[in-house]
């Protein structure tokens, strides 16, 4: 990396790394004095500076009330250390399940926060590359916070170290902690519509299962049927009714029972494009309620339908070799 860091920055990076390495990683962390750091903010230093000016004023004009203001503010400065610390201490953070997203969408890393037996008035959470978010939690209560970061690469995306801070009550001090919580999210490939229709898999070409019985669905128009009580009004052919042909209902059929295969070995195109197109096709099949399977490298997902099946297929596509490894701390800084 060509960027040169100043000494202070390097020191801070080292401290951060050290801090993270001290914390046990896992799905859960409770913020105790072992992992909470506290330091004045820039505003805090400015406040001290102003206080010094007030002190000079008091000394020069020998004014005891100015002294009193100076000492009052100074004492508040000291006391606020404890308050800031208390607002972070005892908070426990748990990672929550992260719903998979497609490349290009925003990953929502979820964190479940639980306050100790006192109110948390301000708590800010941040992970690398994501907007920070602040919450307040009632005493003994909990709150759920989602940090959004756009998904760039398929595969697992690791949230990285979580930065937690509080500046309550006065913003003079910043109490913070780094929690190396395990929180990762599965990123599916970006769906891309293929230019060509999906190639027939050898299995399908061999005959597979015959086209199943016709069931009423919403896919292709089949013809008109007599209205039956309970039929949806949206499917009534009003024009026919108007022309005096009686109450007719448009009927549709879905091709059901046919099996489709998404087979990487016969799919044209480069690897990533292929994966994207297969993703798109899988979503299409799912939307049509089709039964489909996946063959990808050595892995095979037996044909089925439904939400869970879709997830299984997309998961295979996301994690096919060449997927992103969880990003490391070094790269992210």
């Amino acid at each position: 990396m060509a960027v040169r860091f100043s000494l202070a920055e390097r020191l801070a990076r080292r401290m951060r790394r050290w801090a993270i390495s001290r914390h046990p990683s896992g799905h859960h962390i409770e913020l105790t004095q072992r992992v909470i750091y506290i330091f004045p903010t820039r505003a805090g230093f400015a406040f001290l500076g102003v206080n010094l000016l007030i002190l000079m004023l008091a000394i020069n004009y020998q004014n005891n009330l100015a002294y009193a203001v100076c000492f009052m503010l100074g004492a508040v400065f000291l006391v606020s250390i404890l308050h800031t610390y208390a607002s972070l201490s005892g908070v426990s953070i748990e990672t929550a399940h992260c719903d998979p997203v497609f490349v290009g969408e925003d990953i929502g890393f979820r964190y479940q926060l639980k306050a100790a037996d006192r109110q948390v008035n301000q708590l800010t959470l941040a992970i690398h590359d994501a907007d920070l978010r602040s919450v307040a939690i009632a005493a003994g209560g909990s709150a759920s916070l989602t940090l959004f970061r756009s998904a760039v690469q398929r595969g697992w995306d690791d949230a990285g170290a979580l930065y937690v801070e509080s500046r309550y009550p006065l913003g003079l001090f910043r109490a913070w902690s780094w929690a190396s919580l395990e929180n990762r999210c599965l990123v599916y490939p970006k769906p891309l519509q293929a230019k060509l229709p999906p190639p027939l898999s050898p299995a399908a070409a061999e005959g597979g299962r015959p086209v199943g019985s016709r069931l009423s669905g919403t896919d292709s128009f089949q013809g008109l049927e007599d209205y039956q009580p309970g039929d949806s009004l949206t499917r009534v052919a009003w024009k026919k009714l108007a022309s005096g042909q009686g109450l007719k209902v448009r009927s549709y059929t879905a091709e059901q029972g046919q099996e489709f295969w998404l087979d990487a070995s016969v799919w044209p195109g480069s690897r990533e494009v292929k994966l994207s197109e297969m993703t798109w096709q899988a979503l299409q099949y799912h939307g049509q309620g089709q039964t489909y399977g996946l063959r990808l490298g050595g892995a095979e997902v037996q044909p089925a339908s439904g939400r869970q099946h879709l997830d299984a297929v997309l998961r295979q596509l996301a994690l096919s070799p060449g997927a992103a490894v969880p990003r490391s701390e070094e790269v992210s800084s």
Partner: protein
């Protein structure tokens, strides 16, 4: 990534909430109000316009002013401030500038940083305000301003705060912070060493107050008599001196030119350095002069006082602010009057032939010095009357007063007595000062007002200066009861102050009581807060003995650590998890039993009934009590239709507790 990397917040997070902005606005208004009195009217008006606009923007959402207008506003404010600042003291100028800058800044509170700038400037303005006013009211006002200031910071850094004034949580938090900080602040206030000014700065003085003047001509003091302004407050370490002894010497006049007594350019005899004297403490109100008062001739007292050969003291410089000092009571001991002094105190101007004739006659009769004094006082007693509005004197003033008008007040009597004693060869000087004072029983101090001003005579008799008060001969009540009672019927008294407190109090006793209370409080305020620096050394020594390095470090560290520990404990202490009584009782029961056997603790998902059943299985002996308790508790907690039977529940709980 720097240490502050996460301070670079995204714009959205940096935006101060409406609640925070409103609090900051309120805080700024509070800080500006007292300054409006110090600033020229037109500047105050300008600041007011800016504030109103900022307030409307904040509450009504009026649009941002166009850029040109903003630049114009800044220019106007700059020019106006610059013009106003000219001729003002540096500090007032600075404060005015800050006030105006803050008013401008309020117009655009875009980021947290903007809010912080305003808040920090407000901090400084609050402190600087005390250079212009140090009354108790200002003190209280300052505390209020600080609370609101802190509240604005709390609002800025809380997520849970909704817009003001819906929630008072920021004020509550700020109040708690301030209360917790109080012990630490007090400690710092007590022990922080008061060092002299780092560099000299002059502050615009409060307008010169009426005080004793450095010359005395009959008729002059009558102005003072009418003023009920405070002059001095005195407290005694031991018993207060008796009323008849309360002659407060401020200055002596040694030169008389026939019309006016003056202070000859007497050289100061040195600075007081001693610390032995602490019999009484005096707080002097600000005045344009350096005069201080003392009960007796001074030889020891607070350091830094300038001592004069006539035994009076003066402040090192004019009393720009309240000045506190302490002195020792001293017995008048025989001394020696040097020939030069004797000559000075015998100097008599030409004129006043009738007085001289009378004195010569007395001398010819062979009257002793004491007898001459007695003869003069006898004259006063028999033929003179006391009045605040005497006839004007012309020509040989003493002759005219003594033989013709025969009426006057202390100055007239003192002046005549002084001259005649000198004619009789007795070294004499006039003393200007105060007589008496009002004793405040609540704070045990003596309040001396300007109308207590008095003049009397000191004569060198029997080898020492002896006090002679001729006014006492003609109007003993003036000496004994003070001027207030004496003059109540006098038409001139307070005629120009129809709403004077003193006048009102003559009608309402409660008012007098309240006034005394207030003055007592105010006195403590001056003595312990404003004048603390002068008594810091003594106080610390009294409490702690001589300070050494280790002691001072411990003195600071131990209480600071103790206070911080206490606050930390308070903040982090375990709080009861439950709100209602039954839940608390259950938790207590669970804790108690779990100490006996961990498995007996209540699980989170266990209801009262389930828990009591489980306990009954584990402790079959108490099954009855447990069941009764759980049923009663269930009814109190959950039965809304038939009304809770708290008594039954309490009985059950008691039985259960006893059984266990």
């Amino acid at each position: 990534m720097s240490l502050f990397a996460h301070e670079k917040v995204t714009p959205k997070a940096a935006l101060p909430g409406l609640a925070a902005r409103r609090w900051v606005f309120f805080s700024t208004v509070l800080c500006m109000l007292p300054q409006a009195m110090n600033m020229p009217v037109w500047m105050s008006l300008l600041a007011g316009v800016l504030l109103v606009y900022a307030g409307l923007r904040l509450n009504r959402g009026i649009a941002q002013p166009p850029r040109l207008l903003k630049v114009l506003a800044v220019l106007v404010v700059l020019v106006v401030t610059a013009l106003s600042v000219l001729g003002k003291s540096t500090l007032l100028g600075l404060v005015m500038l800050l006030v105006m800058a803050n008013a401008l800044k309020l117009l655009e509170l875009r980021t947290r940083r903007d809010v912080w700038v305003v808040v920090l400037v407000n901090c400084f303005i609050i402190a600087a305000a005390y250079l212009f006013s140090t009354s108790m009211l200002s003190g209280a006002y300052g505390v209020f301003s600080i609370v609101v200031l802190l509240a604005s910071l709390v609002a800025l850094h809380s997520e849970s705060v909704t817009a003001w004034p819906v929630r008072w949580q920021p004020v509550k938090t700020a109040g708690v912070l301030l209360l917790q900080a109080l012990p630490l602040a007090l400690l710092m206030f007590l022990v922080f060493p008061r060092i002299g000014p780092l560099w000299s700065l002059e502050l615009a003085t409060p307008s010169a107050r009426t005080g004793l003047s450095d010359s005395l001509a009959p008729g002059e003091i009558s102005n003072l008599l009418r003023s009920d302004e405070m002059a001095f407050r005195v407290s005694f370490s031991g018993e207060p001196v008796p009323e008849s002894m309360r002659y407060w010497r401020a200055m002596t006049f040694d030169t008389f030119d026939g019309q006016r007594w003056r202070i000859d350019g007497a050289e100061q005899s040195g600075q007081l350095s001693g610390r032995e004297g602490n019999d009484y403490q005096v707080i002097a109100e600000p005045a344009a002069s350096r005069w201080l008062i003392a009960l007796t001739q001074v030889s020891s007292g607070s350091r830094g006082l300038t001592l004069f050969p006539d035994g009076t003291v003066r402040a090192p410089e004019p009393l720009q602010k309240r000045f506190t000092y302490s002195l020792a009571l001293q017995n008048e001991t025989p001394g020696i009057l040097s020939p030069e002094d004797r000559q000075r105190y015998l100097q008599v101007p030409a004129g006043n032939p009738r007085a001289r004739a009378l004195v010569d006659q007395w001398l010819a009769q062979g009257l002793s010095q004491q007898q001459i004094v007695a003869a003069i006082l006898q004259q006063y007693r028999q033929h003179f009357s006391y009045t605040l509005s005497p006839a004007r004197l012309q020509g040989d003033r003493v002759d005219e007063f003594f033989f013709s008008t025969r009426e006057g007040f202390c100055e007239h009597f003192a002046s005549a007595t002084g001259l005649m004693l000198r004619m009789a060869g007795i070294p004499t000087r006039l003393v200007g000062g105060y007589l008496g004072g009002e004793w405040n029983p609540y704070s045990e101090y003596l309040l001396i007002r300007q109308y207590d001003a008095h003049a009397w005579v000191e004569a060198w008799l029997d080898g020492r200066w002896q006090r002679i008060d001729p006014t006492g001969a003609v109007a003993p009540e003036r000496v004994l009861d003070g001027v207030e009672e004496l003059l109540q019927q006098s038409p001139g008294y307070l005629a120009d102050q129809p709403l004077s407190m003193v006048r009102l109090e003559q009608q309402f006793a409660l008012l007098a009581e309240l006034r005394l209370r207030y003055q007592s409080l105010n006195y403590s305020w001056h003595r312990w807060v404003l004048g603390y620096d002068s008594r810091q050394d003594d106080l610390l020594k009294n409490w702690l003995g001589t300070l050494n390095y280790l002691k001072s470090v411990l003195l600071v560290l131990v209480p600071v650590v103790a206070v911080l520990l206490a606050i930390g404990w308070w903040l982090l202490r375990g709080r009861p998890r439950y709100r209602d009584q039954i839940s608390l009782d259950t938790e207590r029961l669970s804790e108690r039993l779990s100490r006996r056997q961990p498995a007996l603790a209540r699980a989170a998902g266990e209801t009262l009934q389930q828990y009591s059943c489980r306990l009954a299985e584990a402790l079959p002996d108490h099954a009855g009590a447990l069941g009764a308790w759980a049923d009663a508790a269930g009814q109190v907690q959950y039965d809304v239709s038939s009304g809770a039977n708290l008594k039954l529940y309490k009985r059950c709980l008691k039985q259960l507790n006893q059984a266990l």
